[in-house]
Assembly symmetry: C2
């Protein structure tokens, strides 16, 4: 879309780009254009824009690599931007900076901005503490609705959101109630603020962003307050930060399920060697585990020599186990993530997957038998005089492997969760690898049962 966002002659001249972009109405559209540029060009443009505009752009979650950009723009502009950003966004950016840049840029902050950011920086990434902003509205419970509205009007421009107002105990400053702007506007100005408040739903600073997202979604909130053990409000997490977190989690779930380490940048922006690193690790681990298939095959090499015909169906049978396992895993990963299924439900899942696997295996077994019979009878391929026994072996192995695959695939997320790992680390390749080795053993065991005394 670069063509539509920037005219051609502007493409390599930062001053011209800056002028063109400054005229755009929505920060989100400018960010989209900046993301198309090379990082040094984007930084050069950001350095030339008016400071207030640059602040707006750095405020956008969609801006690629804000930490890299802030180190590349002139120090004066960086100072203006960092002092102008909301506390939670600035913290986000500081968290992505290498220590040396972090120290240098922190020293550019005015003392009143530096305090909140330094206190937010202590929370680990992806927790409520790291996501929250300290810029919210709070009032003592002794105020009226009219007083509160007046206060909201005055502080509005310095707060990230005013859609939820937190009512505090006037002495201990503990959280008592939450009032939505909606109820505030609809209420009688002379009534006490507590007449329109309700008990707040809160969270703690070290809670994972996924759980914060669950709370906001479940109760349809616009923001959730983060409180300490004494019920003092440390900050609030707003719905727009949570949407970005939900989308990122969705991406991570798909990437991990595909067997890649989660990436925090867009595909085309990740360096070649970083991408190699994120992919080669898992790929090598899977390869090393899959080597067990070679060992299993070596173990059965006598049988293989005697009945080479059996090898024809190895890929078919193995992949069916992997596929059924991958189906079950994808279902259970999301069920566990969305809390549709709890850890203690594992036996209910087994009771479903066992008959499920048997039926699915039987369906594939029937298809496989038909395939062999048709090829044999039509003279397309000769499986030898014992072709019926071979068909029975394939069908029997399919039932066993699909059932086994479904069970392993369904249980893997439970096992990972029980061991304290993210159930979403159960990738399709991981399941396939687990199932492949045992699939071979099942196949040759079934073959020994059906073919002993004939082929084997």
């Amino acid at each position: 879309m670069q063509e539509t966002l920037l005219s051609d002659d502007a493409v390599r001249d930062p001053a011209a780009i800056a002028a063109q972009l400054a005229a755009k109405k929505y920060a989100a559209d400018i960010v989209e254009a900046l993301n198309q540029l090379e990082p040094q060009d984007a930084a050069s443009v950001l350095g030339r824009l008016p400071a207030e505009r640059a602040v707006e752009l750095f405020e956008e979650q969609e801006l690629n690599d804000p930490a890299g950009l802030i180190t590349q723009i002139p120090e004066e502009q960086a100072k203006a931007v960092l002092n102008g950003l909301s506390a939670d966004r600035a913290t986000d950016i500081f968290q992505q900076l290498p220590p040396v840049d972090r120290t240098r840029l922190l020293s550019l902050l005015a003392p009143e901005n530096r305090g909140p950011i330094e206190s937010l920086l202590i929370y680990p990434p992806n927790t409520a503490g790291a996501l929250m902003t300290t810029e919210f509205v709070s009032v003592p419970s002794t105020w009226t609705i009219g007083q509160t509205l007046q206060h909201v009007r005055v502080v509005e421009h310095t707060r990230e959101t005013i859609y939820a107002i937190y009512v505090l105990d006037p002495y201990r400053r503990t959280l008592q109630q939450v009032v939505t702007l909606r109820r505030l506007v609809a209420g009688d100005p002379n009534a006490s603020i507590v007449s329109v408040g309700r008990d707040p739903i809160t969270t703690k600073p070290l809670v994972d962003r996924e759980d914060v997202a669950r709370i906001i979604t479940k109760y349809d909130l616009l923001a959730v307050p983060v409180v300490d053990d004494k019920n003092h409000v440390l900050g609030i997490v707003t719905v727009d930060d949570i949407i970005d977190a939900i989308i990122e989690e969705g991406t991570e779930d798909v990437q991990k399920f595909g067997g890649v380490e989660a990436m925090d940048e867009p595909y085309l922006h990740i360096g070649f060697f970083e991408m190699i690193k994120k992919r080669a690790g898992w790929l090598s681990v899977l390869f090393l585990s899959e080597m067990l298939t070679a060992s299993a095959m070596q173990h059965f090499s006598d049988e293989l020599e005697k009945a080479v015909v059996l090898t024809l169906f190895i890929p078919l049978i193995m992949s069916s186990g992997g596929n059924s396992g991958s189906q079950a895993t994808s279902l259970l990963i999301r069920s566990l993530a969305l809390r549709d299924v709890k850890l203690s439900d594992w036996w209910r899942v087994i009771l479903r997957e066992l008959p499920m696997g048997l039926v699915l295996g039987a369906i594939l077994g029937i298809i496989g038998t038909i395939r062999i019979a048709v090829w044999q009878e039509a003279g397309l391929f000769d499986y030898g005089e014992h072709w019926r026994l071979i068909a029975a072996t394939v069908a029997g192995a399919l039932v066993g492997i699909v059932t086994f695959g479904s069970l392993v695939g369904a249980m893997l997320p439970f096992v990972l969760k029980r061991l304290g790992f993210d159930p979403a680390s159960a990738s399709a390749p991981f399941v396939a690898t687990l199932v492949d080795v045992s699939g071979l053993v099942i196949y040759f065991t079934v073959a020994l049962i059906f073919l002993k005394g004939t082929l084997l």
Copy 2:
């Protein structure tokens, strides 16, 4: 969690459950408890609750199978609930009803509720039109801020959201501006409403919910107006509906990537045979395609007879192709979904995946060579006198197959999108199957090159 939500003696007595639940503070918590019950018990409880409470519960997106429940509660209660629901939620539920129930229940609606719902029912599921609510606040552009605030106070209780107010042309009733409640509250009551408005970002009724989510996320909106071709506001889609849509899309992406048809109900609530249907289809298609591996193996059966040792590495080599393909697919599916990568970027992706595949393949090739050499030299297994050539075959095939897998895996989402399908339909099993057949051909071709004149 059933234990903590309901006391034990209440578990089988709907009246007792209803009494216990009615005392709970948050609708979301009651819904969580109801979802744990058998459907007929949940319906029985919903039939006994006060009508206003039942409305609140049916309003919650998290309630399982609301359409099934509404048909099971007494007609008087169903009537009260359906007339009390917001238009968009009622439409949601009507859309899930079988035609006969739909007609019966529509007749229970008061005429003023029936009109909007019938007009919303014409939009296909998962479009902006189906998600939107008709209960929003609009004012003519001739009003002042004070007049608007007064109007908002009066209509507040009948509107789903008042956080965005739509300013219309007083004569043609076309959309001119949007004003947030925040700017309304902060503004001067005597100023014109247009002094605090801004140009609205809008969407059309037939736009897919994923694109609506993208607009709301990109511009950090609390709601987006849905307009017709003449710029009349048909309704608005609010951020909480969009969060549910984003989560559902994330689940669908993972399920489809796992090779299952998307499921619209929680795992433990789907009937056994429906689940079979959702899984057997894809599994059978994959199985039929994977049969090509048997054909490929049959084609190379002479080579197999001569060099059974080659079969030992078939699972290892094939799975590496599938794994690298599944990695590339998972990366590109999300990149396309989030618009990080556009359809026209396909050649940039190829230019990345080609060297990526070569490097990843070489890494695995080195590991594989070491494995064969160690086993051979340590006397763990005898690959024969030509073991060095076999190792070279395995390494060469790995480079070819991993490169091929990465390219196919990365291009599949592009091809699907180009053909008008959802790129997320590119599942890991689908990629693995595509790569398996060609992987065998690559393996045996490399073998013919390296082993011609010795083993083959």
